[in-house]
Amino acid sequence: MNYFLTEEQEMIKELAARIADEKIAPVALEYDHEGKFPHDIMQYLAQSDLCGVYIEEKYGGLGGGVFEMALVVEELSRACGGIALAFAGTGLGAFPIILFGSEDQKQKYLPDIASGKKLAAFGLTEADAGSDAAGIRTTAVLDGDSYVLNGTKQWITNGGEADIYTVVACTNRSKGARGFSAFIVEKGTPGFSFGKKEDKMGIRASCTRELIFEDCRIPKENLLAREGMGFIVAMKTLDRTRPGVAAQALGIATGAFNAALKYSRERVQFGQTISSFQAVQHMLADMAIQIEASRCLVYQTCRHVDSGAKDISKESAMAKVMASDTAMKVTVDAVQIMGGYGYMREYPVEKMMRDAKITQIYEGTNQIQRNVIALELIKQASKV
């Protein structure tokens, strides 16, 4: 299907696809089995200018937006959803600065992210605050020219590997979510350390760690926006990065579908290729329908977000739910089509099925996304 991408978007997609096929696909299984972080792959992205596709040109980027970011994530995820997350997780850490950073903050942090010199991460979740992000307990107390942070963030993508962290903490507990503030914390700041690397079901090339703050003192200038804006910073960021998770899901689904289609034309049983069985054909057709429908929604949502539209929460949630549910279903079916071979670790679809699951969980579970969508629908209906 022709999605009428601009010439530059085509270039971005092609180059990301080349990196996926030439550099990621050959090592994806190894990185997954060994839980190896893809710094080397990030170097290829950096050399190709892809690290900064969503960053303004004056900070060294290519001046694109969420769509360009999603195109890269989708292509990389076709080969490995875990490796793609080093890039996507950096986007999640960078968007608070892109959206709410002061000129000084942008000049200080964005060029290194755009050039690929530094990775970023985003820390909101805590042990007792997942879906209910308003339950975070990490505190930031103003003391002279600095804020002092205390608390622990849990399951932070790129934790330990990134240099730049955007973190949400309470500056005024009595105000609840209105008392949250967002900060930029640099790796190496005294009092800032990392917990152990989590042992995960999938996206094993991605690194997930705790961020531990013990009397961690950061300069006052590292406050993003104003005190009390932290929850808004987080929500507006996630509205823009959820299409990225959707793109990750879309890439994983596409990778699994391609593998299953290829296999079905090679595997012979009962004297014929299994692609000649209608039961298999219909599965392939359904997989393709769901993938294409997801791609339509994801791409159009990206365009909607990049147009500067104000109401984007519902759309971005829809894209994320649709693409991630599709990825889960398609990867399970890909394993089914490949039978016992699909279940073996030597073949990529086993990994893709494990990788797909996370897209239904993080950046807001699909249940929470449906809550968001429904509340918005009801709100809109009540206005009429």
Binding site: E8, I12, E22, S48, L62
Partner: protein, 264 residues
């Protein structure tokens, strides 16, 4: 340091179509790519430029469409692209090609080093690099796997041999041909691709470079290809069955009966 990299367009697939009359490759039909060995030459040229300041110019002799391939090299760091294109160049063998390229090099003017791939994947002769050096009257080294040092006056490089390597030092300007062990060619960058789109490839004909047409193309080619054919391989295999022990026994018997092995 100014580097010229000579590149050739070759068919991207293995299905090479031949012109039965001239016995040369029909280049218009197949999907065209840059000779893979030349990619290493380009990368090495760009690295030298980055370390020493200067420029890299790619030079090719070929049909007008080659301009598009040359333009793509801008995306990996090349500065200028020059294409020699003229009906008079058609049907050139390696000598006539080297002659045309040498005239192109003279037209470009200032250069310190010329880099070529070790050979082209279509013709596989590996002759153009050395012939070009002869035409220009400068030294050359083939099969370079590493440049140890390069200064304004000389280059010291490792030349790959069958059982190791030799270290060769030559005065500049000189020609080297490179093997794939020399580097890992970089991927293009988006900014490079955008720049490539705007870059104009200089196209010269035989007159522009002052070439003697009698030395160009089919006319200037002493090589006359009488016949080309795809050799037929008759490989018949035999699979030895049984347990590993049985297989080994049968294999030894076979090798002895064929007198590849004797038993003492």
């Amino acid at each position: 340091m100014n580097v010229i990299v000579c590149v050739k367009q070759v068919p991207g697939t293995n299905e090479v179509k031949m012109n039965k009359e001239t016995n040369t490759i029909i280049r218009e039909s197949a999907e065209a790519i840059i000779n893979p060995f030349d990619e290493y030459a380009i990368e090495e040229g760009v690295r030298i430029k980055e370390n020493t300041d200067g420029s890299v110019t790619v030079l090719s002799m070929g049909i007008p469409q080659v301009a598009d391939l040359l333009r793509e090299t801008i995306a990996v760091g090349v500065d200028n692209a020059v294409l020699l294109s003229d009906k008079a160049f058609a049907g050139a063998d390696s000598l006539a090609t080297a002659y045309a390229l040498s005239m192109g090099v003279k037209k470009i003017g200032k250069y310190d080093l010329i880099i070529c791939g070790k050979q082209a994947t279509d013709g596989d002769t590996a002759q153009v690099g050395p012939s070009l050096a002869e035409k220009l009257g400068i030294p050359h080294t083939t099969y370079v796997r590493k440049i140890e040092q390069i200064t304004e006056n000389y280059i010291r490089c490792q030349r790959m041999t069958e059982d190791g390597y030799e270290v060769i030092e030559m005065p500049l300007p000189a020609v080297i041909t490179v093997v794939k062990e020399i580097n890992e060619p970089r991927l293009p960058s988006i900014k490079g691709k955008l720049k490539a789109k705007k870059t104009e490839v200089m196209v010269y004909n035989a007159d522009d470079i002052g070439a003697d047409k009698n030395l160009c193309g089919l006319k200037g080619s002493p090589t006359q290809v009488v016949k080309t054919f795809v050799p037929e391989h008759e490989i018949s295999g035999e699979i030895i069955e049984g347990t590993s022990r049985e297989q080994a026994q049968k294999l030894v018997q076979k090798l002895m009966s064929m007198q590849f092995m004797t038993c003492k």
